[in-house]
């Protein structure tokens, strides 16, 4: 069984829409119960260096990130707009880490995020590539492992809201 392309596109569309609407709990719902989320500069990745900008190797850490964003962190007042391009779907025949064993796969999608500030000025904030391992959980496709490979090594101002 291969990944359902329509389901993949729906998942990516929901992903961007929920972030842009600041619906972070609903965004978390797109991840599996066991998941990983990393934002890694592409330059580090290519050099084999592991350091990430955001490194959540458990769902608990990802939830802590969102909690910190709401309760503690202060950042530039802005809105995000995710433009997520056509996914490249690579089905995996067997999924080594469980999660159904079939119907999962690797999906890559290029993205751009624009930020708009209170003066109405929009700037390109980041471009990069999502490399996601998706697996069905309870009949719904979820994100098991998301690697955000960030082209924009020089982060403008700061990175608070998720990419």
């Amino acid at each position: 069984m291969t990944l359902d392309r329509a389901a993949v596109q729906d998942l990516l569309a929901e992903y961007g829409a929920r972030l842009d609407a600041e619906q972070y709990d609903e965004w978390l719902d797109l991840f599996a119960a066991e998941c990983r989320y990393q934002v890694v500069p592409r330059d580090n990745h290519q050099r084999g260096l592991p350091a990430a900008l955001i490194f959540c190797d458990s769902r608990a850490m990802l939830e802590d990130r969102i909690r910190a964003l709401r309760e503690a962190n202060k950042f530039n007042i802005h809105s995000d707009r995710h433009l997520i391009s056509l996914p490249r779907v690579t089905p995996t025949l067997s999924s080594p880490a469980g999660g159904g064993g079939s119907g999962g796969g690797i999906v890559e999608a290029p993205f751009a995020v624009y930020q708009t500030d209170q003066e109405g000025e929009t700037r390109l904030f980041a471009t990069g590539l999502y490399r996601d391992r998706l697996e069905p959980e309870g009949g719904v496709l979820k994100i098991r492992d998301k690697l955000v490979l960030l082209d924009t090594f020089a982060v403008p101002t700061l990175l608070a809201t998720p990419l």
Binding site: V39, V40, P41, D43, N44, R47, L49, P50, A51, A52, L53, I54, F55, C56, D57, S58, A60, M61, E63, D64, R65, R67, A68, E71, A72, N73, K74, F75, N76, F153, A154, V155, P156, T157, L158, L159, A160
Partner: protein, 417 residues
Amino acid sequence: MLNAAIWPALDYSRVPYRLYHDAEIYEAEQERIFRGPVWSCLGLDAEIPNPGDFRATWVGDTPVVVNRDAAGVVRAFVNRCAHRGALVRRELAGNAKQHICLYHQWCYGLDGSLQAIPFRRGIRGKGGLDPGFELQEHGLRRLRVEAVAGVLFGTMAEDAEPLQDYLGAPVVAQLRRLFDRPVEVLGYNRQRVRGNWKLYAENTRDNYHASLLHEFLVTFGLDRSTQTGGVRMDARHRHNITWAEAGSDDEELVRQAYGGAGVRNDYLSLREPALVAFHPEHGDRLNIAITSVFPSSVFVQISNSLAVRQIRPRGVDEFEVFQTMFGYQDDPPEMKLHRLRQANLVGPAGLVSMEDGEAIELAHRASKPDRDRMTVIELGGAGIISDRDYRVTDVPLRGFWSYYAELLGIEPEGAVR
């Protein structure tokens, strides 16, 4: 108006906004500070372990290459061809036997000397350079390089004092502590901030802001101003170590201190407490040690998150923070994982650092139109510049400005140092 009269106060408790915004002052800083008698961190020994390894970096806004030559000696030079002024080494890092300029292929050795020029004698006896053109007079401009504990520093001034004298005993001790065994680079992060570079140099010396701006520190109990800590400077007060000890306060003191100021004091707990766990590893209880070396190098320990930061000015209105994350080569796998997790604390997305980008842009933007007005630096009192064994202070900022004034030749008579 770049003279001693620019200072409203002899203790540097007032700094006119002009100093963050005037292009003329920026140019003077590049010449007299960055190309003057200061030592700037160029990177780590561990980043260029083999002969021919190089990295491109910056000293102020001057491009620099640092490399290891065939004999294993670390050398650094300005990354600018003696011929047409082009950037010679375009890659950020790599290994090479020589550095060849793209434009006309002038070829430099790993010591920066000019070794070969294409068509030096022309073709069939026509063209080329005059016989009197001496290659050795046209090498890349060399920096002096010295190191402490594998941390590489360079200076463009022939007459700069020796590195260890420049750093002073407290900073040398702190570097030896942080780099007490072979290090492993875990990766880099970079951040562009629309503000003047000095706002960041001040920020790293400002103990007062830490637990107020970076609410995560207090909210999740990682670091509070009620902990035992303080600021320690070199004898000239140009560098600073902001330090704190883990587990040195109690709940009641925290509630009293933060409650009155309207700062939240209802601690939240993390679902993954490992993020803020501190494992002592240097034979002491220091869990915060931020070492700022004038003008633009910072060595950071926040819990077990370790980093070197370079402040790279990019004109009067922008700077980059270039951060190198590191651990130790003998870290067991679980410690390496712990450091990768705690890297969440620092950098452009850092849970206890992201706010600096916003705060600095706010200060830069709002201060620009009114350059004769001034900032207030009086936490921990005005007057004498000295070490403090408490944390609600920004005294080291005045030390920074004192040495800044000296280097720019605008130190007022009778000013504190």
